[in-house]
Symmetry: C2
Subunit: 357 residues, 2 copies
Amino acid sequence: MLYEISEKTMKLVSEGKKVIKLNLGDPDQPTPNEIIEAAYEAMKQGKTKYSSSAGEKKLREELANLHKVSADNVVISTGSKWAIFILMYLLLKKGGNVVIPTLYWTAYELTAKSLGAETRFLRTEIDLEWKIDIEKLKDLVDRRTRLIILNNPNNPTSKVIDEKTLDEIVQIAKDKGITILSDEVYSDISFVETKSVLDCGNDHILVKSFSKTYAMTGWRVGYAVMGKGLAEKMVKLNQITLTNVPVFIQEAALKALELREEIANRIREEYRRRADLACEILSKTKVRFSKPDAPFHLFPKYEGLDSERFALDLLDEGVAITPGTAFGEYREHFRIALTVSEEEIELGLKKICEALK
Amino acid sequence: MLYEISEKTMKLVSEGKKVIKLNLGDPDQPTPNEIIEAAYEAMKQGKTKYSSSAGEKKLREELANLHKVSADNVVISTGSKWAIFILMYLLLKKGGNVVIPTLYWTAYELTAKSLGAETRFLRTEIDLEWKIDIEKLKDLVDRRTRLIILNNPNNPTSKVIDEKTLDEIVQIAKDKGITILSDEVYSDISFVETKSVLDCGNDHILVKSFSKTYAMTGWRVGYAVMGKGLAEKMVKLNQITLTNVPVFIQEAALKALELREEIANRIREEYRRRADLACEILSKTKVRFSKPDAPFHLFPKYEGLDSERFALDLLDEGVAITPGTAFGEYREHFRIALTVSEEEIELGLKKICEALK
């Protein structure tokens, strides 16, 4: 359904129709110029050769400083997705199951399926502010559980896991010898403090990306922090799959880190304004939603809604959204991505409100 | 041993010693300026967003024209390596074996091992001009054989498979329902005509790269041509692993294709001169070698040689080569990569000849 909406949107646009795209996971911001120039400089300097499958030393060291680990714990990856795939491959290829709280990013499930691993979902609900139920988690894990995948902050709920809950999840993982893979790609631009899995000890895996924090989605550069043994295995797999992330792209990432505060603050504030605006409009309707802790989605619920029908009808009115069914059994929900201008958000949400009347 | 030599080389260089690096698979040529400028232009135009996991339409169409297939048969990949890994994953993850003629590129074996697939090697010898023995191949394949991997032209022998042999291999594959994956990354700059597996029908897989033909090793862009069904499966895996090769890199690849004749001819002639020079020097020695059909290696044999010992001793003389053992049971052989200037080749080979006296 995600792809159906996106294809119909492209068709309408190609026919000359104006569509407000509240369905996109790709922000409207351009990559900052300094980052582009850094890549160009590196290319001109001949940084266009094969290089380390772990990533460039300087970039790994900077990231290690940031996360208070050693450079040996950091592996540069083709976006966060590659790190997630290859770490799931390493941890699940000999069997076992993976526990994933809903709502979850589709790639987790598809990867598990491709690897032939059993997936166990832990359902969360808007009524409980999307909190993970620790007792349910305890019931779900067993001795065949290899991995718990957290998405913190979450796409599409935009909620951050509170400290107490995270500590409890880590305790369960510790008791049962389970690895946590925490996908924290939105944490640097989160509106609230986000406790990282790395703040809970060195046994777990952090996955991060330059995509959202620095408007670098299409550059495909991310990284993962993990134990040295696992890092060595990931590097060996990088050697026979990717070789390396292009060095000029890693130089661009290094420049992004240098401008970290400035860029992340600007992008965070932009999303905060958009989120505030969207919440203000939605609060005047019968739609239920939980206030986002982070960019860049809202996942409201409307009692009795068939979100698939709604999304298709709304597209005819010139607004693209994603039905909740794209994320599992959430038919009464729909996802709004705040990846367009405030003007378009206002216009789009007004049309949504009208359509729901 | 490959990595031991390369690490010792780096150490010597960092200590200020001059080393002639005849051990590198990364050519000395810089990426042509026009290609760098095309990438920069694309970045400035905002081609820094998520895009199709199959690759950009224009690039796929150009490649389809080149290979006389449909764009649906072409998938853009992060270098040729990724295509090889993911196609082996798709074809071998349910078990079966893969047949690989020696000498082979290490990544084939490591990937098969990682996937838990059985590997069957078909040994070739310098005495038979590195030809694949068809009778041996017939004996080696069985009903569990899913894949035959060819490297044509071959690294490190630099031999091209003759037409008759290729036709016979294809016939065996047809009879037994086996897929051939043909890694032809050197074919565009080959000194002799190289018949592609695509010239033998549409049942097989061609893997190519921009790395060698256009001096773009570190850009990580390649492609594979295959049946539509398999292409769709590869695209689905790209969606959950890479998302896409950066669009600005695909624009650079498009520019490379535009300048194809000019760049490939220049690079081919450069390697031909280097190969002629190397053959001339070696022909005056007791070393046996077969004349290379393609860039950019020589794989000579010296009766009774312990190439590991030889490589380490030679490094002390300031020349780095790769011992034959890095490619299997070829202790009397060593690999010379012609990825440095003619001047350095001459100097390096003279030192090799002296050391062998």
